[in-house]
């Protein structure tokens, strides 16, 4: 199997799906002529033409809402936001239109659109670096995926494009350059809603999201040297959410740490805590620990950003405190 980057994997997924299905179109700011500010989409306009790959004005409300309109009327648009934070700019179009159009109209239409959202703190400040999955997990109707490896990036994007529902696809900026083995099969798909057990263990369950996964794995290696085999779970999909995988793991280990690059209050960890209390209370041996951003915006200066973003060290420490 060949090794490619996460960014290349995304591009391959787009190319393959656009070749396979002429109703798939791709647009956003700077995606066509420039190939995207993260350079993921260069060459696509040349291959598929300007009708299907084009640049938009700075009009998130219009072009995200247009994604909904196009999806209602027979296209499968992939809308690229330049930063995941702009989901808030276009909140109505995402939450109330994309997420709810099908339901409020009694199921008469479906909304097969994908919104690609580059996420993650990367030194570009509080409004260009969030990982806002939890906000959209809370509202009904939006599927959400956050792949952490190139293979997952490809398999999940292809599945998201083929899904008949709106999917928010969070691609972490710091993962773009990471490498991994990715199958070449053009029908390589990964199902939404299935977590990946990245590392097996029985001492503690460590759930990590997106760019937290590599940090969690490094922390797990250190913990292994300390004599603790920690189970690392990468949910990959926040809606649908593989609750079963997490519950089964906690039944084994009794201990849970959640690492997420989002604000602590009402983050994904809060949902995990609630569902464990609902579904696995008698298996819990220690309190939940969440490693998350301490409820402040992400500051720009490197030293401040590093302080608030969960690190491998913080994940390791949180696990050790439960394993003492």
């Amino acid at each position: 199997m060949r090794t490619i980057t996460y960014a290349q994997a995304i591009k391959e997924a787009l190319e393959e799906e656009m070749r396979r299905d002429p109703t798939v179109i791709l647009y956003g700011e700077d995606v066509a002529n420039f190939g995207g500010i993260f350079r993921l989409t260069s060459g696509l306009k040349e291959e598929f033409g300007e009708d299907r790959v084009f640049d938009t004005p700075i009009s998130e409300n219009a072009f995200v809402g247009a994604g909904v309109g196009a999806a209602l009327t027979g296209l499968r648009p992939v809308v690229e936001l330049q930063f995941a934070d702009f989901l808030f700019t276009t909140g109505d179009e995402i939450v109330l239109k994309a997420g709810m159009w099908r339901y409020v109209h009694g199921g008469a239409y479906k909304v097969p659109m994908v919104v690609r959202c580059p996420s993650g703190a990367a030194g570009v400040g509080p409004e260009h670096g969030q990982c806002p999955e939890a906000f959209f997990m809370h509202t009904p109707g939006l599927k959400i995926v956050s792949p952490s490896t190139p293979a997952d990036a490809k398999g999940l994007l292809k599945s998201a494009i083929r899904d008949d529902n709106p999917v928010l696809y969070f691609e972490h900026k710091l993962l773009y350059a990471t490498n991994g083995e990715v199958p070449e099969d053009p029908d390589f798909l990964l199902p939404l809603g299935k977590a990946s057990i990245r590392r097996e263990g029985d001492a503690l369950t460590l759930v990590a999201i997106s760019a937290m996964v590599p940090k969690a794995l490094k922390a797990a290696e250190r913990l292994a040297k300390d004599g603790h085999q920690v189970e690392v779970i990468d949910p990959r999909s926040l809606n649908p959410f593989d609750r079963t995988a997490i519950i089964e793991s906690v039944k084994k280990t009794g201990k849970i740490v959640v690492a997420e690059e989002s604000y602590k209050t009402l983050g994904v960890g809060a949902e995990i805590g609630a569902m464990l209390m609902e579904g696995a209370l008698e298996y819990i041996d220690r309190p939940l620990r969440r490693v998350a951003i301490p409820d402040v915006p992400i500051p720009t200066a490197a030293v401040l950003e590093q302080f608030v973003i969960p690190s491998e060290e913080k994940i390791y420490t949180a696990c050790r405190e439960l394993l003492a």
Partner: protein, 317 residues
């Protein structure tokens, strides 16, 4: 406009008015749980504009009344069941009349938030363009809604990409209690077309032939691949904002003045002058409309309520 079309428009206008009157009775009598934003007084604009559409075209209606649906041919039974929140409607109790939908006739539905229609209209236009279809999108909205940011972004987007969308502003002078001259910097909303380099017109929205002419032109322009237009039909909201609105923010004189310009008697006189309509025909059309509505209400009253568990259905495809 040929005679048949003119008469057809008239019949739909009458059916719309009679239906709204009956719906108001039902709501006031507490016989249906739903609510309605009446479009009484704006039927001419809505019906005449929609009569320019072909069956495959897309429609995004506004919340002003039933005429859009009547004009497009949606069975009255469906609308009434949606109003009553029963099975047999178009959205199975999920959206009320706020979200009447009819894919067979391209009726895409409505955004609950005002101004949500503009991007969706642009998207439907985009779809037509990518698939090279011979279709247009018609998007209705009120004067107040045209102040939303989505109006600006979407019209710009449609103009730049030459999308086949006809934007029709029903300027009835009021947004709930806010008169247009206090909320809107321009007097004629169609003037905003200049900000987007697109064609458009301000017309008398209560004059069927003016509406028909202006809208046909815009539809042809769009169908020809030349892009969007912005039409403004001046009209008036004869009833309150919603059934039950005390309407205390408008003066009785103003409202009565506009009743004297109710489009229905004006159009009737015109048709009679043109020998297209007789008094007898008028009475017959009116009676037929009432009978049709009675039948539809009877149907609605027999429909069951949706099972409560269906609240959990229909979210994902």
């Amino acid at each position: 406009m040929d005679t048949k079309l003119k008469l057809d428009i008239y019949k739909k206008i009458i059916l719309s008015r009679r239906l709204e009157e009956r719906i108001a009775e039902l709501i006031k009598a507490g016989q249906v749980g739903g609510f309605m934003h009446p479009g009484v007084g704006q039927e001419a604009l809505q019906v005449a504009a929609i009569s320019c559409l072909r069956p495959g075209d897309y429609l995004l209606y506004a919340h002003r009344g039933v005429a859009y649906w009547v004009a497009r041919g949606i069975p009255l039974e469906r609308v009434l069941c949606d109003l009553a929140g029963r099975e047999g409607g178009t959205n199975r109790g999920k959206g009320g009349v706020m979200h009447v939908v009819y894919p067979e006739f391209g009726v895409l539905g409505q955004s609950g938030t005002l101004g949500g229609c503009f991007p969706i209209a642009a998207g439907a236009g985009l779809s037509i363009k990518v698939k090279h279809e011979d279709k247009v999108v018609m998007c209705f909205f009120g004067d107040g809604t045209s102040n939303r940011g989505t109006f600006h972004e979407s019209l710009n987007f449609c103009a730049v990409k030459k999308l086949p969308v006809v934007f029709i502003c029903e300027n009835n002078g009021w947004a709930v209690s806010m008169p247009t001259e206090r909320s809107t910097a321009v007097k004629d909303i169609a003037d905003r077309r200049h900000g987007y380099a697109m064609p458009g017109k301000t017309i008398d929205g209560n004059d069927v032939s003016q509406v028909f002419d202006a809208v046909s032109e815009a539809v042809a322009h769009a169908r020809g691949g030349n892009g969007p237009s912005l039409i403004e039909g001046k009209t008036y909201r004869l009833w309150g904002h919603w059934i039950g609105d005390p309407d205390s923010y408008r003066s009785r004189e103003e409202v009565e003045k506009h009743w004297r310009r109710d489009p229905i008697p004006i159009y009737e006189r015109k048709l009679i002058d043109e020998n297209i309509l007789t008094e007898a025909a008028r009475t017959e059309i009116d009676a037929a409309a009432r009978a049709q509505i009675d039948r539809a209400i009877a149907f609605m009253e027999k429909q069951p309520l949706p099972k409560p568990e269906t609240a959990l259905e229909g979210l994902y495809a």
